[in-house]
Amino acid sequence: MSIQVSLKAFRYQAGSKPRFERYQVTVPDDANVIDVIEAVWSQHDRTLMFRHACHHASCGTCAVRLNGYEKLPCIVSVKEALAGREEMVIEPLRNFPLVGDLVVEVVSFFQKQAASGMVITREAEPSLDGQPYQRSEVFAEDGTLDDRPYNRFENCIECGICISACPTMSATDKFFGPAGLAAIHRAIQKTDDHRQKSWLLALADGEQGVWRCHSAFECTEACPQNVNPAEAIMALRRELIANKVKKLMRG
């Protein structure tokens, strides 16, 4: 069954004024919001710029503000988006330079992510179900058997939602931001190298580090992947303060 959906989308093209445009599109009744955006593109305007790739919350490209709040439209149903309202409102993320329409420039985000050196894959950990991932015997390159733990991609999909939700990021770019600091925290957890660890801690303690966070917790609230960046920031602070106290005690 198909339904008619009304939406108001933010439009902007370099050299002209930003504006809102209203659309009516037809989508299946079980569609998600990304399907609505795509329908605007295919049914009304092929010049609409929006980001999307995987449609299952893994690529992290499609993040927008839906009815004001940061969401991944690929995992929000039309029904949810229209709960208690006549039309949905779709805007680009905050705190990023605007390229056009719903597309923002995410270069600064990836640079901050790269600062931690955290790679995208993580060693296996207990899954969400509490079932442990078990060690398996897998094939080595030469075809012989090789003992190796399972691995998987990090939970953070680098969608930029936390940056958009963070009030501190609204006025300053000199801050690693929630995802950047969560990545530093993950990188510290992953490494056994003492020097690497203290280097990462110094990074977190630096002028772009954890002390620029003022406890709004919007990142954790908005994160679609339960990364909980705020907790990572506070864990880093606790460790930094504990280290300082220890140093003081030792004189």
């Binding site: 998600n32 995987c54 690529c59 790679v119 899954s127 398996s136 897998v138 998987r152």
Partner: protein, 385 residues
Amino acid sequence: MSAPHVIVIGAGSTGAATAHDLALRGLRVTVLERGEIANCTTGRNHCLLHSGGRYCVKDQESAIECIDENMILRRIMPDALELNDGLFVALTEEDLAFKEKFIAGCEKCHIPYREIPVKRALELEPFLNPKILAAVQVPDGVFEPFRFCLAFLATARKNGAVVRTYTEVTELARSGQSITGVKIRDHRTGKMEVIGADMVVNATGPWAEKIAAMGGVDVPVSPTAGVMVTVNKRLNNMVVNRLDKPSDGDIVVPQRMTSIIGTTSWIILDPDQIEIPKDHIERMIQKGREMLPAIQYAVTRGVGAAARPLIRKANADEREVSRTFECFDHKHDGVEGFVTISGGKTTTARGMAEKVTDVVCAKLGHQAECHTRTTPLLSYRLFYN
């Protein structure tokens, strides 16, 4: 004299890998993509790094391509893969009968395999249907399609390639019987431009026919859609495949915190207009549950469908069509300066790039060898710098 300029249309896996190979061989490269990188066919694929197991019985050419490229990708992008292998599981007596053929196929296509006892398989995969009759392990893997493309493009850019997203090709510029460049619309500014090129590579997957038509030629590519249903729990460590010939809902790919069930297959007319049939979603969940019954307790997180490019062969059912790729030099259609690469899979993107780049270099008289088999790619993050 500066190196010849090659335009690559499309920034899916084929376009990205092609840009990398061309740039590595010293050509000047411009990639044009009308939307986001990997926004359709590649982005919404199954994220499966094929071992070739799926094709080793019916489509051995594809199977060999897959296992070769699988082993290469492990070397050149090791940080961007979940390498947990795959299981082919038999649920019925029929499946069990297929096992012999499967193992013979693996041998033939030199795919490493190992039959593991059912008890062991259930230990490795606690959510697997306890009624399975057999399990064979093969080196399947999982990638992240968007970042897969970024890694190729990041490396291409380091080697001088220019990547322009939100830039749509509206026409091919021609002079006599030669394509001399493209006319584009830059959606960022709304401005039209003409970009000249010594060669234009059409790497638009299921849109290959549309772009080829701009050059007045035809390529036999059928857009074929497939549905993926993603559930909100990761129910398997390894890729779980049905030990049978390819069919609907024969695979559950784990990725990050989720499991992705796929897929169906139907031919569509316009890759820009895909309507997902509701019964396909239900069928995915139902078929997935046969292998992993716990799927019934998981919540659907996202449903996606995208068109895949299948090379048309006369009188073949779409499931029977080879998943291999083909490179079309349009000089055979009387048009110079224009090449199409289509078909294939993301797993074989590097191989496709090698083939089309060989063709391009030969046509341009540019002497350079392919080094993409052994050149490690940059981190995908470095695409943004």
